[in-house]
């Protein structure tokens, strides 16, 4: 049986948790979103923003306080989780108290699938995920978290669910296991063409997996778009900061008296007539945003560009991060993969390419330009 491709749609979903003491937490606040069928969608957001709550509502483990859930055009809001054909992998890997093999075979046995088919499917998935065939008879209870999570993933995909929900499946794993499982997940999800929602608060994970991402904060979807657009054109300061490693730099600016340039801390940013026309509607205070990897470091030491002092050099992976102090208490981070002969304390000259600069409203945080 091939999985049916199901489109998952939330309509004005609000979820409020009420604790025993009567305390209320609004975990989801009027969320409407459509997850396209057969594709992987990423859901990103800081801890506590309601990601797990959203998945549980889709799975049927929670009834939303308000709003509706549709699978294609079918209203499933009141449908039991047993009847939704949704598979979910949780943040903390869980495995049943039985052998590794039985764990993976379990969902098929429950459905009365013939033994030989079960065996074929289990072995297929075991091989895809790189689970050692020799440990299939060991009890899964004592397995390490990496293996337990592989088992959980295997169990989720073995039964051809219509919707696959992955709730931070890699967060609690060791770095090496994480990279391995990430690669496997990518292979599997691309091959399977199953509607997949991948939740994480680690953006590096999702940027490589998902075509579209939804960025959430405090129970709301802030931006939902193609991954590259979210990255290039963050709708809100928060998105720019949250997506990217490190996130976008923000420099406070104000429009000068003549309304011709933005006076920023440490430099001036020239504006054309059209830009000014748009900006004046929003007042005088803005934030200029630029991604660390878009900043150009001027090695010729020419006179143009913004001058600053390197206060810190960091390495993340193969990249270098230069913390450049361009004014008092204003530091921007430039990211480069090139080895340049500069050290802490040196003076550096950087330029901000015009096509990569975004301007945000200081009051609301929303992007104005471009």
């Amino acid at each position: 049986m091939l999985p049916l491709m199901v489109e998952v749609r939330l309509e004005n979903v609000t979820h409020i948790y009420v604790t025993e003491k009567g305390l209320k937490t609004v975990a989801l606040d009027d969320v409407s979103i459509t997850f396209p069928s057969g594709k992987i969608t990423g859901v990103l957001g800081p801890s506590g923003c309601g990601k797990t709550t959203m998945l549980k509502i889709i799975a049927g483990l929670l009834r939303p306080t308000k709003g509706k859930v549709y699978f294609d055009d079918k209203d499933v809001t009141d449908l039991d989780p047993q009847k939704r054909n949704v598979a979910m992998v949780f943040q903390f890997p869980v495995a049943y108290d039985m052998s590794v093999y039985d764990n993976i075979a379990f969902p098929l046995r429950i459905r009365g699938v013939p033994k030989d088919i079960i065996h074929r499917k289990v072995m297929e998935i075991v091989d895809i995920l790189g689970i050692d065939r020799n440990i299939l008879n060991k009890n899964a209870k004592g397995a390490d978290p990496g293996l337990r999570q592989k088992i959980a993933v295997a169990r989720a995909i073995v039964r051809d669910a219509d919707v696959l929900l992955l709730d931070e499946p890699l967060t609690n794993l060791e770095p090496l296991v994480r990279i391995e499982l990430k690669t496997k997940l990518k292979e599997i999800t691309q091959k399977m063409k199953i509607t997949t929602i991948y939740v994480t608060h680690d953006q590096a994970e999702v940027l490589t997996l998902a075509e579209r991402i939804a960025v959430m904060n405090i129970g709301k979807i802030i931006q939902y778009d193609e991954t590259t657009r979210v990255y290039e054109y963050p709708i809100h300061e928060f998105v720019g900061y949250f997506i990217g490693n490190p996130g976008m730099n923000y420099i406070e600016c104000s429009l000068n008296e003549e309304k011709s340039v933005l006076e920023c801390k440490g430099f001036e940013y020239t504006l054309n007539r059209n830009e000014v026309e748009v900006l004046v509607k929003y007042g005088k205070e803005f934030k200029l945003g630029i991604r660390p990897e878009h900043i150009i470091i001027d090695e010729s030491k020419s006179d143009k560009g913004i001058k600053g002092k390197i206060s810190l050099v960091e390495r993340i992976g193969t990249a270098f991060l230069y913390h450049v102090e361009i004014a008092k208490e204003t530091t921007i981070i430039a990211k480069t993969y090139k080895q340049i002969g500069l050290r802490e304390g040196d003076t550096i000259s950087i330029t901000l390419p015009k096509d990569k600069v975004r301007i945000f409203d200081k009051k609301t945080g929303y992007r104005i330009l471009p």
Binding site: A59, P81, Q82, R84, M88, V94, Y96, D97, F106, A161
Partner: protein
């Protein structure tokens, strides 16, 4: 360091002696004749060991019948109370319902009063209303009253330790609550289930008070039978001791076999 181990061994030996000596005395008494028992100075061992008194206890004094009664009651009651408690503990652990917190307190608080104060009520309920006087069914039902709270208390804390995400996965895989409990949870907490069964079994097997006034001849249990051996014609010490040994056996066997389980199961229950 050396001194400490020696002291430890001495203390353990004293404790062992204190607990085991009565048992030893019971065993040798069951192997001694009436005159040997009253010999002065007393024999510290049976001079002419014989199993005669066991045979008499089992057949002449109906020990076999009483032992069977006790076993049937304990086996059945432990099964019922463990099963019922498993369902109850699952409900308390996994569902939200009104009065959930008070329910548990009710169970526990019932254990705080001395059981004897319920005796009259139980006598009335079982013997008069239900007509189960001298019927083992009465005890099988009655023992649930104190066995279920103990079993719930044990099983609940074990179930609480199972992550709720595991249930969620199982639910999504299509399992009903019954299947989640019996196919997913029970294998995980089988140790505690076993402890719960053994403890409730022992409770039922060793119970004396209620058995003594609800049963008389047919449904008589082994604990109450012992008392029946003090007759106007005299006390049959040897036979009584033999029956005593037999009635102590299940407890001893369980303690030996399930020693490890009991300790882990009990400490798990304590949180």
């Amino acid at each position: 360091m050396r001194m400490k181990t020696i002291i430890n061994i001495v203390i353990i030996a004293i404790i062992a002696l204190i607990t085991l000596f009565p048992l030893y005395w019971l065993i040798i008494t069951s192997l001694k004749s009436y005159t040997e028992i009253y010999a002065n100075p007393p024999y510290l061992y049976p001079p002419n060991p014989t199993l005669q008194y066991y045979i008499e206890a089992l057949y002449k004094f109906y020990g076999l019948k009483y032992l069977t009664n006790s076993l049937v009651i304990a086996v059945t009651n432990a099964a019922i109370s463990t099963l019922a408690s498993l369902l109850a503990a699952y409900a308390v652990s996994r569902f939200n319902f009104r009065g959930k917190d008070n329910l548990f307190f009710t169970f526990v608080s019932m254990r705080m009063a001395p059981p004897a104060i319920f005796a009259v009520a139980y006598y009335y309920i079982f013997c008069r209303t239900l007509g189960l006087r001298d019927n083992i069914l009465a005890l099988i039902i009655l023992y649930n009253v104190f066995n279920i709270p103990i079993a719930i208390w044990l099983l609940l804390s074990a179930l609480e330790a199972i992550p709720k995400d595991l249930d969620a996965v199982a639910q999504l895989e299509g399992l009903s609550h019954f299947k989640i409990l019996f196919r997913i949870h029970v294998p995980i907490i089988k140790g505690t289930v076993a402890v719960s069964y053994l403890l409730t079994f022992l409770n039922a097997f060793n119970e004396y008070l209620f058995a003594s006034f609800i049963t008389s001849t047919e449904a008589r249990t082994i604990t109450t039978a012992l008392q029946g051996m003090i007759t106007v014609a005299g006390v049959y010490w040897s036979q009584m001791a033999a029956l005593g040994v037999l009635s102590a056996l299940p407890g001893i066997i369980i303690a030996v076999i399930a020693r490890r389980y009991l300790v882990t199961g009990l400490t798990m229950g304590m949180v």
